[in-house]
């Protein structure tokens, strides 16, 4: 805790305070405080359905918090006008779970899409830029393929090169490792770290793949039931004495989160006719 408070200055890119958000009757966040530091890879972990994707959408301004504040680079996201929000989004990249590539465009045109939408660069320069971005993720050779011809891991790498097309200040990764085979997982892990350090990015990874995420992150938040359950550098989290965090990090079947859904006594239930 002390470390966070000390670093919370101009080094904090994303600052979340007292965040509350609910969908209908379901409370998703109930007072969450988060700090994402510049230049670091920060992981937000938690079981499925804890609203990790929602958190990214709140940072990206696609959703508005019910209460509390979400500040990105000193700007209160929910108070921005549309134009200001769009200007901020140009400095953010987001990697969706499915990649979210535009299916009617080729790989090349997908990476060129943000450049063509937001700049008036000549076609020759766009070509150079796109090839550089594709080279960074190792898919320069796949430029003429359509998204439907790509494997899941390749689609995510194309989406990564699209996300860095405008040289953003940060990238948000939504479940980057889900459903990937070990080789593409390894490639993605390496790429996230590499891009972060080479381009001076700030990365936010939302995931429940504990091992891969812990491997590359500088700081980890564990969220459950709308609250931050634990935080710290990976080795601190590893040594935590919070029972819940331990259970989550090590994937134990039973613990503070019971294996059994609440039910009446087993024997009574069986004997009851």
């Amino acid at each position: 805790m002390g470390e966070t408070a000390a670093q919370a200055g101009r080094d904090t890119l994303v600052k979340i305070r007292g965040l509350e958000f609910s969908r209908g009757d379901r409370v998703i966040f109930d007072g969450v405080d988060l700090d994402i530091l510049r230049g670091k890879v920060t992981a937000v972990m938690g079981p499925s359905g804890t609203g990790k994707t929602t958190l990214l959408r709140l940072i990206g301004g696609q959703l508005c918090p019910d209460r509390g504040s979400v500040q990105v680079d000193g700007l209160e996201v929910s108070r921005l006008r549309t134009g200001e929000l769009y200007a901020l989004r140009k400095r953010m990249g987001m990697l969706f779970q499915s990649g979210a590539l535009l299916t009617d465009l080729s790989v090349f045109d997908n990476v060129a899409f943000p450049l063509r939408e937001h700049t008036d660069l000549p076609e020759s320069m766009i070509r150079d830029l796109v090839l550089m971005k594709l080279q960074a993720v190792g898919l320069r050779g796949a430029r003429d393929l359509k998204p439907a011809q790509l494997s899941g891991g390749m689609a995510r790498r194309v989406a990564m090169s699209r996300a860095i097309a405008l040289d953003p200040m940060m990238i948000m990764y939504d479940e980057p490792f889900t459903g990937q085979d070990p080789i593409s997982k390894g490639a993605l892990v390496k790429l996230i770290r590499l891009l972060n350090d080479a381009l001076g990015l700030t990365s936010i990874i939302v995931s429940h793949d504990v091992q891969e995420t812990a491997e590359i992150s500088d700081y980890i938040y564990v969220i459950s039931q709308g609250r931050v359950m634990g935080q710290g550098a990976p080795d601190e989290i590893e040594r935590t004495d919070s029972g819940w965090v331990k259970q989550f990090m090590h994937g134990l079947p039973d613990g503070p989160v019971p294996f059994h859904y609440p039910a009446p006594d087993y024997r009574d239930d069986l004997l009851q006719t």
Partner: protein
């Protein structure tokens, strides 16, 4: 009983909610049209998939509708010795009613459902969200070009349908059944009015274009992002469009030809 009333209330609320969302959505779409006009390339791509790809269906349907009208009209008129009026009968039926209505129904089935499915899938695969996060407004980039293309295509397609149908009637009536060539055209020209008939037909098809395309893009945008959601939205596009076309056709006809 109380339950039934509550169900009715819930249905009503859902209906009004949808109408409200649809209205706001339409406003946003219209707001995106200037952006489309600055980038005609986007419009051309949509005119291709909405207009050009519907052309074969519309032309063939027009031809056969005209031929059937020629055949049916001839058999009815010949009993009164009035087969010379075949041209008028075919032209009025096609220009006033069948051209706009049948074209709109075919358009809803061909282009409207495709539009809904495409937009729905883009939503389901987070492409629309992705665009938003790339600071690109999906309503300007994806919806508005489709909407404009639909509005522009419908009157053109309806005019093609009507013109082809008149020649289809000509082919059957004059070519096969022996109606006098001159009588076919001259009677038609004497009785079909440019403003009353042709222009009103164009207005009808324009209105159908506005409504059908609106339903198609809105159902796509408002879809529940799952495969069942997209399937349901596609069906709704066709059903709601057909219903809207036929209802509006009655209203427009009453307004245009009714007041005398």
């Amino acid at each position: 009983m109380l339950d039934w009333i509550r169900k009715l209330g819930r249905g009503g609320l859902r209906l009004f909610g949808k109408l409200g969302r649809g209205g706001l959505f339409l406003m946003a779409t219209l707001g995106g049209i200037p952006a489309v006009l600055r980038r005609p390339g986007l419009l051309v791509a949509q005119l291709w998939s909405v207009g050009v790809l519907s052309l074969a269906l519309i032309t063939l349907s027009g031809l056969f509708v005209g031929m059937v009208l020629g055949l049916q009209g001839y058999n009815t008129l010949v009993d009164f010795g009035a087969e010379e009026s075949l041209g008028v009968a075919v032209a009025l039926a096609v220009v006033r009613e069948l051209g706009p209505v049948v074209t709109a129904l075919l358009f809803a089935g061909r282009a409207g459902s495709a539009m809904t499915a495409e937009i729905g899938l883009m939503k389901a695969t987070e492409q629309l969200s992705g665009m938003e996060m790339m600071a690109v407004n999906p309503i300007h980039r994806v919806i508005a070009p489709r909407y404009l293309a639909g509005i522009l295509s419908m009157p053109l397609l309806a005019a093609i349908f009507s013109a082809v149908a008149v020649y289809g009637g000509f082919f059957v009536g004059v070519g096969l059944l022996g109606v006098d060539d001159g009588a076919y055209w001259s009677q038609m020209q004497a009785k079909v009015d440019l403003y009353e008939d042709v222009w009103n037909g164009v207005i009808k098809s324009l209105v159908f274009g506005l409504v059908v395309t609106w339903i198609a893009v809105f159902e796509g945008y408002d879809t529940v992002p799952t495969s069942e959601g997209v399937a349901g939205a596609t069906t709704r596009t066709v059903v709601h469009s057909a219903f809207a076309i036929l209802t509006l056709d009655f209203v427009l006809t009453a307004m245009m030809f009714g007041d005398y």
